[in-house]
């Protein structure tokens, strides 16, 4: 091999090593670029999915029924055949209650109605809004009196001049509930520009239209905002001013006025969940506004008997509830239904401030339940305390038995 051949061989060897190195580099670059491209594509895909409006989870909003005015007094006649309980209040409130008086003897608790959109339920168990929204084929018939004062009366047809009827059916099972309402209906503006609910992040909740409120009870201005809400017409936006209600924490409910309107509407925070019963009593204005002078007791000792108690000492009940201030709070979804079914239902009349009536349920297993904020809450006060409250009412006040299964039997007898 001459010197040129050696030189050529050396050059070829060096060239081969350079080519090999280049190949390695290009392979590495190719691998890295493939990986980076894949990562970028995945990131873009994720971002796209995240930002796709169609895939964004809507807020968990309970079923908020449409509102219509019924100009007849016969609304309650369409109550289910098993309807057993009824009540009439002196503060233009009329309630239609239904319950299942089956052999199991399960009772309903929510005996509330009001002149604004409210809900009572025909479910055979506790009838808080949350449960009603979750049960599939439940149709809710609510009757509520108009703002015209109505004297307490035994006759159902005398209790209302104009009755608001509220129908609610869950779309969960994809079928509408059977209509039980035959009354003539005419549309009525709710006075809130159609906002059935809105969300307010700074107070942490979904606020549901509950009732109107006297401007005298409207307190501090919280903020002006543009609310995005949902009505039967779809999503709408409107300028609104949000106020607190005197003596009630904004986390529980707020007063809202839209645009240039002078009227105020109360929106309850469906998501509100206090730590204890004491906190709830204070924040919800129970100690300040509530009248707890009426109750239903469901006596199962001798078949099924529903007794109606009136004239109960509100302060005494409140004191007893305050005696359980430390009772821990649960939402309905956190406890089993046997703890939310009431043995005794206390009507919580807030009409000194709001045309709104709700209920407290006392369960012998040791739970106090309430639907005051629409979202069902249960407080564990202990079985002894629960029994003590029930005894205090049933032993000290004369209850009247309410007949069941008859038309017009929704008023105390």
């Amino acid at each position: 091999m001459d010197k040129y051949d050696r030189c050529a061989a050396a050059l070829m060897e060096l060239g081969d090593s350079i080519i090999e190195e280049k190949k390695k580099k290009s392979a590495l670059i190719r691998r890295v670029s493939f990986s980076v491209s894949g990562l970028c594509a995945a990131a873009l895909l994720c971002f796209g999915i995240w930002k796709t409006p169609a895939l964004q989870k809507p807020p968990e909003i309970p079923q908020v029924p449409e509102i219509a005015a019924v100009t007849t007094a016969a609304a309650e006649t369409s109550a289910p055949a098993k309807s057993t309980a009824c009540m009439t209040t002196a503060a233009e409130v009329k309630t239609t209650r239904t319950s299942d008086n089956s052999a199991s003897g399960v009772q309903t608790t929510a005996a509330a109605s009001e002149s604004r959109p409210v809900s009572t339920h025909t479910a055979p168990v506790n009838t808080a809004v949350q449960q009603a929204a979750q049960t599939g084929a439940v149709e809710t018939i609510v009757t509520a009196a108009s703002t015209a004062p109505v004297q307490t009366t035994q006759a159902a047809e005398e209790t209302t001049q104009a009755v608001t009827t509220e129908k609610q059916s869950s779309p969960a099972d994809g079928e509408s509930a059977p209509s039980q309402q035959e009354s003539p209906v005419e549309a009525e503006e709710p006075g809130t520009e159609g906002y059935n609910y809105f969300t307010m992040d700074e107070l942490g909740g979904t606020y549901i239209l509950t009732s109107s409120i006297d401007p005298a009870f409207v307190d501090d201005h919280i903020k002006n905002t543009v609310l995005t809400g949902t009505s039967s017409q779809g999503e709408i936006q409107s300028r609104a001013a949000i106020y607190s209600v005197q003596g009630i924490a904004p986390e529980v409910m707020t007063a809202v006025t839209f645009g240039s309107q002078d009227s105020y509407s109360v929106y309850c925070n469906y998501s509100y969940k206090p730590a204890t019963l004491g906190e709830f009593m204070e924040a919800a204005g129970i100690t300040r506004y509530a009248s707890l002078d009426k109750a239903y007791y469901y006596d199962l000792s001798n078949g099924y008997e529903e007794r109606y108690y009136t004239g109960i000492d509100t302060q005494k009940v409140i004191d007893m509830l305050l005696g359980c201030s430390g009772a821990e709070c649960y939402s309905y979804s956190e406890v089993t239904s046997d703890k939310t079914v009431s043995d005794l239902t206390l009507i919580c009349d807030m009409s000194s401030a709001l045309p709104m009536s709700r209920a407290f349920g006392i369960n012998r297993r040791g739970y106090v339940t309430t639907n005051l904020t629409s979202g069902g809450l249960a407080f564990n006060i202990g079985a002894d305390k629960a029994e003590e409250i029930i005894r205090m009412i049933t032993d000290n006040y004369g209850g009247t038995v309410t007949p069941s299964g008859e038309d017009g039997a929704n008023t105390p007898v």
Binding site: D2, K3, Y4, D5, R6, C7, A8, A9, A10, L11, M12, L14, G15, I18, I19, K22
Partner: protein, 181 residues
């Protein structure tokens, strides 16, 4: 097709012997040509090696518009200029492991056989770079004026003028050497 071009094409088609033939045929001439620019026979040989490495690794496309030698020397001239600019070794120039023919033999003596040629070559080395380049390409590599103009990146007229001036300078240099004995 001249030998260089056919050898290169054979190399491009995967026959490594073609590359060895190129080295064998053009190594010395390319080194000496680059030496007229760099004026260091070792660095010139390194630059020539780099030219061959470029051929081996990058496999540049040869266009048949000029002779292979012209094309190769153009690459050599550019490489030499890069060498002078950078004055450092590139990746391609990490050729310490390569054998340097100039270490073993006198390339000039081997390449320039006749004594007259040797004298002329030595006189050429004393001339300006451009004169040395053009004379080397014309008289030793026997390139045409067109090819020289291509290699040097000059026009034909410039090359003709350059050859004229270079001859004059070479004559003066030979006379000076002759008078000095």
């Amino acid at each position: 097709m001249e030998n260089g071009a056919s050898s290169y094409l054979r190399f491009l088609s995967g026959e490594k012997e073609g590359f060895a033939e190129l080295v064998r045929e053009y190594k010395d001439g390319l080194t000496l040509f680059i030496n007229t620019i760099i004026r260091d026979i070792h660095i010139s040989e390194e630059a020539a090696n780099e030219v061959f490495l470029k051929l081996y690794v990058d496999k540049p496309k040869y266009k048949a518009g000029y002779s292979f030698k012209t094309w190769l020397y153009t690459i050599g001239k550019n490489t030499a200029i890069n060498y002078m600019k950078k004055f450092r070794r590139t990746a391609y120039s990490s050729v310490d492991d390569l054998c340097y023919i100039s270490d073993e033999t006198d390339i000039e003596a081997d390449y320039i056989k006749s004594e007259q040629n040797l004298l002329i070559h030595q006189a050429i080395k004393a001339l300006k770079t451009e004169y040395a380049q053009v004379l080397y390409l014309v008289y030793f590599e026997e390139l045409s004026n067109d090819e020289v103009s291509k290699v040097m990146g000059r026009s034909r007229k410039q090359v003709s003028d350059l050859i004229y001036c270079a001859k004059k300078a070479l004559r003066a240099e030979l006379e000076r050497r002759d008078s000095n004995g």
